[in-house]
Homo-oligomer: 490 residues x 2
């Protein structure tokens, strides 16, 4: 890692440029220079963006310049989308202008063979000599919420929030942005790190670690340079905020595939993964899990132990979840006698009186929240997986049936549906209020169809098996924090 | 298992009753006797359903009888929803009437303790003596496509098709029906087997095995009686059609939870799971996977080997899939030189020339299908995982942007969107045509948002890791078939 002060100064500018220039901007919306500029303009970039195009006087309605030399005044950032052979020359102009940061979208460097490797060495040399911080080359772009800068190839306008993401594959990374939108995870900063010719994964990680606006760092990592200082940096960050990484190239075939598309070498991945866990990095098992873990850790505290209570509305689902917890290394706790007595007052006499707590035929929403609270407060419980936390108008189908059979009038059906809708709104709001103040980790599993869950400040995990695996990662992180920071955790 | 001829005769009636009676039918739509009757009536049951209710002359518009004795003429099926203490008396009437089959929805039997165990023994005794085939007790119901009989507690009208499902948990089972609707898997028959007091998992399995309308059997199993003949029956069926089981109670805590909700004992599950695999049963890893495997095997042939080709539109996704395949025990094959040469003609010169086949920046739909075909035809490839088979109008966001910026007119945007829609319709249809005739297994991974995928006769698996795990189960099944039936497989 390079000098931290230097890096911070450059990164501050990269993520909040006041005046940026795009070399290769074009009115042709079939080209990246058109597509990305359109996205920057439409997502209301807070700074000024100046197109450079040798032919057109105006690009997408903005005054354009024939070359970078023609642009007067100070510039913070150069976005480069021109073909690879032109990039060294352009970066020399960037250096001459004293622009501190560059994003090289252009591909055709070390990922394409020997000539590409040479060309990448050349551009890195130019940047290093001039003190330019370069993102890429071969990057799918950058997003900054603070600057409202959507400099991305993918058609996504990310939900804004407090996650930061570093992706060694643009496609995989931008998918984390898409998923975030579905699951309620908002982003403060995003970088597709591309070939990492200049700026590396651990440099972004270090910066995001210092950023008070960032509350979690997500990563997709394929290669890690053996010279990297990742393992020294990570433990500093993971004490303060979760770092969740999905590691591609875990197997030899995966590593081989990785080396051919970003030019990165995968290295001894067993060793690296073990070291990363030691450093408190949460090792996710899928792209999906990265995003959902980040959202879960945003909504819920870190578990203080591995003793799980399970609440379910159906016996079979309790079995499935108990199996999945046991397989993930979690303990299905024995509930305290007092907990059972309190549940006895809500549940029918024949309930199973054990963990999982099967609510049998009790359907009331209030009873659900009451049972959840009783289980959560049990001194033997560290965390809860709450199944069937559905917020759907389950009865809507039945109402339609009754309307068709002319047993209920249109008006009656309309009123009943309205009532169901109000009931589920109330349930969402009570459940959220409860979860917001709960001191222990609660993961909710279920579905709803009415609206995206993030609007309600909740997250429904779709599969109980997935909730168990997520909980296991969260428990590991909790135990890391207890070791690293003392018993209080975060 | 009981006598096969007897069982077949009774089951034939159960799944195709001409005249059925519901004891406990009611106009109260808050009770199961009202809810289930409404569903039977609205889903256009092909037979006659007669309500029995001691008070009302009409129930949901049908003439009702005060007691079963008052109903004249032959009856095929009795559906019982009255409280558990009344069930023995009612079943004695069923016996007296000579009704061959009964569905006991009522709960409160062996799942609730000693008194329940005694009551269940009593009703089973009555059925056994009278030769009544009983479903349940404590069942969430039955669905039969042929009879258009939707006798289910859950608010689902299943998609019709050729799967059959046996579920030892009603909630888990009906979820397979919901999921089927989302993923395009239609059902011919469904049974929530409840406590299996009389009719057992393997008896349903045997019958579904003989049924020419059933092309796959799905199961959720918690307990297996050590006396069961499941292991003798299964290999007969698995040679003819896939049997896909999700086993709950794999761990001791899961088994403990299972024993408390259906009264079933989980037994030595490690041993059972091994024996089931030996018998050619596909052991799924989640409820979701059961349904998606069944649909995949409906759409695609069984793989003849484990050598996988991967097609991707993004390098990182190729890495992720290669890792997931290797971890699932699949081989990432080396592509033939001829395959590479043929791909060279479509892909840019810097493509990675290996497996996974990364299409880099080639976006054309036709190129996608061409590349897929080239990989699939490779003699070193047994099956393909095709990523990024998206059928979404990805560019719609960009068009909206351009409209907002007034760079494109409303009319132009409308026309472009229409064009995109037509393009994706054409892609769906070409892809489906290709997959329909392909001789090797192809699993497609991607998303689309326009319409449910089943309308197009395709299935998009949502996560590449999931596709790899599914493929591994399909390869195992293919290798079982090759062993059991000779090299040709099915």
């Amino acid at each position: 890692m390079r000098d931290k002060q230097w890096l911070k100064a450059r990164m501050d500018v990269l993520w909040n440029p006041r005046r940026a220039v795009m070399i290769g901007a074009t009115n042709n919306l079939g080209k990246w220079g058109g597509i990305i500029l359109a996205r920057i303009l439409s997502d209301e970039f807070q700074g000024e963006i100046i197109p450079v195009n040798p032919k057109d006087e105006y690009v997408l309605g903005r005054r354009a310049y024939k070359s970078l030399e023609d642009v007067s005044g100070p510039l913070d950032l150069a976005v480069i989308v021109t073909p690879s052979p032109t990039v060294p020359g352009i970066l020399r102009q960037v250096a001459k202008k004293g622009i501190p940061a560059a994003i090289v979208i252009t591909s055709g460097f070390s990922e394409t063979g020997d000539e590409g490797v040479r060309l990448e060495e050349e551009i890195v040399g130019i940047c290093r000599q001039a003190g330019i911080l370069m993102v890429g080359p071969n990057t799918m772009g950058v997003f900054s919420s603070a600057a409202s800068m959507n400099c991305l190839m993918a058609p996504v306008s990310p939900l804004r929030g407090h996650a930061a993401c570093i992706a060694q594959s643009g496609n995989v990374g931008t998918h984390m942005l898409f998923r975030g939108k579905l699951r309620g995870l908002g982003y403060e900063k995003f970088v597709s790190s591309g070939n990492e010719g200049d700026t590396s994964f651990e440099e972004y990680l270090w910066y995001f670690g210092q950023d008070p606006e960032v509350n979690a760092v997500l990563g997709y990592m394929e290669g890690l340079d053996p010279e990297s200082s990742f393992m020294e940096i990570a433990p500093e960050i993971t004490r303060k905020k979760p770092v969740i990484v999905y590691k591609g190239g875990r197997t030899s075939v995966g590593a081989h595939a990785a080396s051919s598309h970003t030019g990165a070498m995968a290295g001894e991945m067993e060793v690296i993964a073990g070291a990363m866990r030691q450093a408190g990095v949460i090792m996710a098992e899928s792209n999906k899990q990265v995003v959902e873990l980040a959202r879960a850790l945003e909504l819920q505290p870190v578990p203080k132990g591995s003793r799980i209570g399970i609440l379910t509305r159906g016996g079979g689902w309790g079995v499935i979840t108990a199996d999945a917890c046991a397989e993930a290394g979690l303990a299905i706790t024995r509930l305290a006698e007092d907990t059972l007595s309190r549940l006895d007052k809500i549940l029918p006499s024949y309930w199973s009186r054990g963990n999982p707590v099967d609510m049998v035929a009790v359907l009331s929403n209030q009873a659900y929240i009451d049972c959840l609270e009783i289980v959560e407060k049990d001194p033997n419980v560290d965390a809860v997986i709450a199944l069937g936390a559905n917020v759907t108008a389950q009865g809507a189908t039945t109402l339609e049936t009754l309307r068709q059979m002319e047993i209920m009038s249109d008006q009656e059906v309309k009123e009943k549906k309205q009532q169901m809708y109000t009931d589920s709104e109330n349930f969402v709001s009570s459940l959220r209020d409860y979860l917001d103040q709960s001191e222990k980790t609660v993961l909710t599993v279920g579905r709803w169809r009415e609206k995206p869950d993030w609007e309600s400040g909740l997250m429904m995990i779709q599969e109980p098996e997935e909730a168990a695996r997520m909980m296991a990662r969260m428990v590991e992180y909790g135990s890391y924090l207890a070791r690293a920071c003392g018993a209080q955790g975060r």
